[in-house]
């Protein structure tokens, strides 16, 4: 998941991401090209107010690029959000990585391996985008290891059965996509372009999860029960991925004004619920919410909110797997030190050799 910055309230949007999320990504990419085509002539004049120029570019739906002047708070907000997003991709490999060796067939193993590899790739695209803002990869990695930057709370829940891999693909990746598609329109160019790439790759993740659950839900009674149990456990944590309700959201109308964030937490959560209801019916699985019913007046489903106190506890580090995830990451980083050193030593040795040959 990942890009949610747990931000702010906003107006009810009328152009929410529609049924075809991939279509939304395509549209965002087309918009990016169109915006580039109508770029305003020239940079800021020598005596022009840079802040006014920045606002003008953002308001005109143009992209801010790394070397453009930007408000310090805009830079800091983006670094925090992109880094948290990148960390989430990296930590997010753990819950599913646990199941690579235990996936029920060679086909499922190969698919899950490709998905986890994608998550690593997404983390790297995002670290690269964050680095354009003037922070180094080393600093970002260290901030994660020191617990000074966060990752999505969802990865602090355990994957108890194979069906959990399906539920993660369907619900967690599904929620992530609903969150991420609007980020394809983010005002910061490198982030928007990374998100377009991520979203295009992400759609297979959601489908593979759905397929796993569909297979289990139409299998033996035991397999069906396993699928239902996974959905029961992942439903509310997935709803919590969109962050606190708009009334309690701390980060800023500012993110909306800067066009980093496009929709409020509650709007995105509603969109996700509305998408899932029909998908659950086809799976033959029940969404664990007695309060779930169609509201004709709102043209949307009423649903039970997740436990936000639990969300805050998990964010604070008290979720079921927080310590395990961080310990694993620190160990993996430390265990990989010799590889980084060996690669550097090898590169230095070869550079030496080339110099001698040249001399």
């Amino acid at each position: 998941m990942y890009g949610n910055d747990f931000s702010a309230p906003g107006d009810a949007p009328d152009d929410m991401p529609g049924a075809g999320l991939l279509g939304e990504v395509e549209a965002a990419e087309a918009e990016l090209r169109a915006a580039a085509a109508r770029e305003r002539r020239g940079g800021p004049a020598p005596d022009e107010d840079l802040a006014a120029y920045f606002t003008e570019v953002v308001d005109a739906e143009q992209k801010i690029e790394p070397r453009d002047w930007m408000p310090e708070a805009y830079r800091r907000t983006l670094i925090r959000q992109i880094a948290q997003h990148a960390h989430s991709e990296i930590i997010g490999m753990q819950p599913e990585g646990n199941w690579i060796s235990r996936a029920p067939s060679l086909k499922r193993k190969a698919i899950l391996l490709a998905k986890v590899q994608d998550e690593a790739g997404h983390g790297l695209y995002l670290y690269a985008a964050a680095e354009t803002l003037g922070i180094s990869r080393d600093e970002l990695v260290q901030l994660l290891l020191d617990g000074k930057q966060k990752y999505s709370s969802i990865f602090n829940y355990p994957t108890l059965t194979w069906a959990d891999v399906g539920a993660i693909g369907w619900l967690v990746d599904g929620a992530a996509i609903v969150n991420q598609v609007p980020l394809c329109r983010c005002s910061y160019g490198p982030y928007a372009r990374a998100m377009i790439r991520v979203c295009k790759e992400e759609s297979f993740h959601q489908r593979q999860g759905y397929e796993i659950l569909h297979t289990l839900a139409h299998g033996t009674p035991e397999q069906q029960a396993m699928a239902q149990d996974a959905v029961d456990r992942w439903w509310y944590p997935s709803l919590a991925m969109f962050g606190p309700p708009d009334g309690d959201s701390t980060h800023s109308t500012q993110s909306m004004a800067w066009k980093i964030k496009r929709f409020s937490n509650d709007d995105l959560r509603q969109r996700f619920v509305d998408m899932c209801v029909q998908q659950a019916e086809i799976l033959g699985l029940r969404i664990p919410d007695d309060g779930l019913r169609w509201n004709e007046e709102r043209r949307a489903y009423d649903y039970t909110q997740p436990d936000y106190d639990e969300l805050m506890q998990v964010i604070k580090g008290n979720g079921p797997c927080n310590r395990e995830r961080m310990a694993h990451r620190r160990a993996a980083h430390a265990d990989g030190a010799w590889v980084r050193e060996a690669a550097a030593a090898y590169a230095a040795k070869r550079a030496d050799k080339r110099e001698k040959v040249a001399a």
Binding site: G42, E65, G121, A128, A194, A343, A344, Y346, A347
Partner: protein
């Protein structure tokens, strides 16, 4: 992963024969050969390219957005470089 030992590389991918290499992103690697291999794994997992360039990020000199106007201005008043500047008399073909 020290930046000192593992510098930044910019990655360019040619999608198909006949197209130019296009910048796709960056990555860290200790040397050019590893940068190339990492770029293959990171940016072409779905056959996005037939050719990759990696360039040390430090070797790229970029123009500054601040000087964008003065830098590119000299071309602005030379409309006569475009064929549309010239009036073609009626009836002239193949011009």
């Amino acid at each position: 992963m020290s930046n000192e030992h593992s510098p930044l590389w910019e990655v360019f991918v040619r999608a198909r024969r006949g197209l130019s290499h296009t910048h796709v992103g960056s990555l860290h690697a200790p040397d050019a050969e590893l940068a190339l291999r990492n770029a293959r794994d990171l940016y072409t997992r779905r056959q996005e390219g037939v050719s990759i360039w990696v360039v040390p990020a430090g070797a790229i000199t970029a123009s500054s957005p601040d000087e964008k106007d003065s830098f590119f201005d000299p071309a602005a008043d030379k409309v006569y470089r475009h064929p549309t500047f010239y009036e073609v008399p009626d009836g002239v073909a193949h011009l």
